[in-house]
Subunit: 204 residues, 4 copies
Amino acid sequence: MTESTASKRRAPRADARRNRDHILDTAEQYFSEHGVTGSLDAIAKRAGIGAGTLYRHFPNREALLASLLSARDEQLVARRDELRTSAKNAAEALDGWLNAVTDWACAFDGLPEPLRAATTTNLSPLAVTCQGFITTTDEFLRAAQDQGEARADIRALDLFLAALATSWVRGAAMADAASGAALAALTRSGWEQAPDHSNTRRTA
Amino acid sequence: MTESTASKRRAPRADARRNRDHILDTAEQYFSEHGVTGSLDAIAKRAGIGAGTLYRHFPNREALLASLLSARDEQLVARRDELRTSAKNAAEALDGWLNAVTDWACAFDGLPEPLRAATTTNLSPLAVTCQGFITTTDEFLRAAQDQGEARADIRALDLFLAALATSWVRGAAMADAASGAALAALTRSGWEQAPDHSNTRRTA
Amino acid sequence: MTESTASKRRAPRADARRNRDHILDTAEQYFSEHGVTGSLDAIAKRAGIGAGTLYRHFPNREALLASLLSARDEQLVARRDELRTSAKNAAEALDGWLNAVTDWACAFDGLPEPLRAATTTNLSPLAVTCQGFITTTDEFLRAAQDQGEARADIRALDLFLAALATSWVRGAAMADAASGAALAALTRSGWEQAPDHSNTRRTA
Amino acid sequence: MTESTASKRRAPRADARRNRDHILDTAEQYFSEHGVTGSLDAIAKRAGIGAGTLYRHFPNREALLASLLSARDEQLVARRDELRTSAKNAAEALDGWLNAVTDWACAFDGLPEPLRAATTTNLSPLAVTCQGFITTTDEFLRAAQDQGEARADIRALDLFLAALATSWVRGAAMADAASGAALAALTRSGWEQAPDHSNTRRTA
DNA sequence: GATGAATGAGTGTTCATTCAT
DNA sequence: AATGAATGAACACTCATTCAT
């Protein structure tokens, strides 16, 4: 299917492809330096192309972000497959996945914000990206729930948002890394001490 | 304490005081409508004063925000006192307090962002405000820990940040309210199911 | 004449012809919606062709407009013939013709502007179109003048411009239709009251 | 009244006034060269001020135009008074006035367009300016009608629009001046030859 | 013949902050 | 103390036209 449509627009034109890739590289670097709210014009300038060219490839900031992030999909997908096979149990797999998502959402300063927005608007190009990850989260979550390793009243969307929130807490490069980790831990175990009459062992 | 420094500049001039209050009222309204990133110029205009006057009272956006929020301190302090006496146990008190903080940080759209920043920069006028609430959080947390109702490895700062994160997830008025509540719940209990040795009852 | 030059490049290629027609249809619709200053790129996009193809067929906006309008020539020519036979006198014929021209120039929002320009520059592809209509106007005018039904000091060009001006006054769809009609009436009879020798008393 | 409000905002600040005047001078020159659609940024740059300063004084193009034109009001008003006293009859006065309006609307290339728009939208700052002139037109028109020198079925608005249309026909500096005059003449007397054998019958 | 990528100056507008009045 | 004018870079985004493919 994808092939047939691709055959229609035969040549993606070598220079266009090159430009596109160059824009992505430049944006990656620029966003790393200035956060996701950095100037698109500045990216175009740094890439040595006209602003129009950037907008042709990526009609708006979110489209650019989406492309940037989907380039990292492979890594996340790889991580997912790895967790599926190597995790010692469903809870570890879910935990590992959520950590991976958190890292992913920390790619650029300010990234969690549009991602969160994308979970509710559905209009953003980021929405599809997010949706895919929520689905994966759901798979891990269900597995853990089936194994009795995760509470039954948890929704995948909420875990995804919790991961984003953790990225958000980590915030800028300067922020307290420990607090980010702490929120991740809270998300897993909560602050509440189980009122264990006998001996509830719980691993921090 | 604050009074003694104020005594230095004897009469704060009635009109200045009036202006200040009027700015605060206007800003309150404006931020409610447009979020915390709204235009300060617009606030000055709506308040019917010059931009310079606004900047005289509040040298920057965060100073304005800090004043705005500290006006709500009383409510939070009242809530704190209420929780201290009425909560049936330390865990409920802590939970109630965190919910109060979460609500407080939802006062304006986009408010969690500068608050989070204030927890790390220390330079922001908001830092003092935050610090006070972190201290209160610490009191509740310690009480709960002393009662064995909260895990010992939790830090007040992290709980405070978790509350902010919850506000952040709630986000704009449009956002999914359930997800906000879900993160609060996660923060309390985590998604992990305690490995029950007897018989795990689980409702699908 | 035009045919002989066309015979040079024998087959206009079926697809080229089809493209050309499709562009015209699309442009007709687009200009109706957005006025004559609408984006040519958008027209190409809507027509499903590349921008270059559009420019191959019509090197600039005015060339496109000219083709668009000459497609309506038939209607105007038909109207001309109709007026020649059916009008009860030369003045009515001229009046009918000017109204037809006015309607024609109202085809798209903003059309009168390039038409007026075309009457003076001669470089525009629209110039030919306009010239033809001015000639026809001249025929009707002369007939009326011969019949003593039109003043002798009137020029066809000026009547044509007056018709364009009337279209211009009608302006966008929103404009005051009555004023358009009023200008047409003024053009015919003027605001001046003929000095009546008897005694025309007229109360304002 | 105007004085009391003026006293409130005591100092229009000498530099502000100077800037404002300088902007107006620059805009006058720039619009003369490039027409009313010229770049506002370019005007700011040429005036040696920041774009923001221009926008502070004139929030949009039409506000700037309105100020520019109202500076010419005095001339028109003077002309009005002159016509009132010196015109040999009401018809000449009206004719002189319409010519004055036409000249006024020719001040810049492209000016008739926003003026016409202003007669229908009412939202434009130009609307007030236009309204004033329409009122004056009405005075001259009524006088002429009272004298039996103008047809009773004419509206002031339509005469005003006819004057604008005449300016529009004159168009750019390059345009055919004769055609402009011709439309003005048409507006006054029409193209129709009164079929007067003896007594002038004229159909409305 | 057709394509559509590239151009890049240009658009109007905003805004936090400073400083002359 | 209050004012509000000035700043001017920055913003996202557009579009007619060219030209390599």
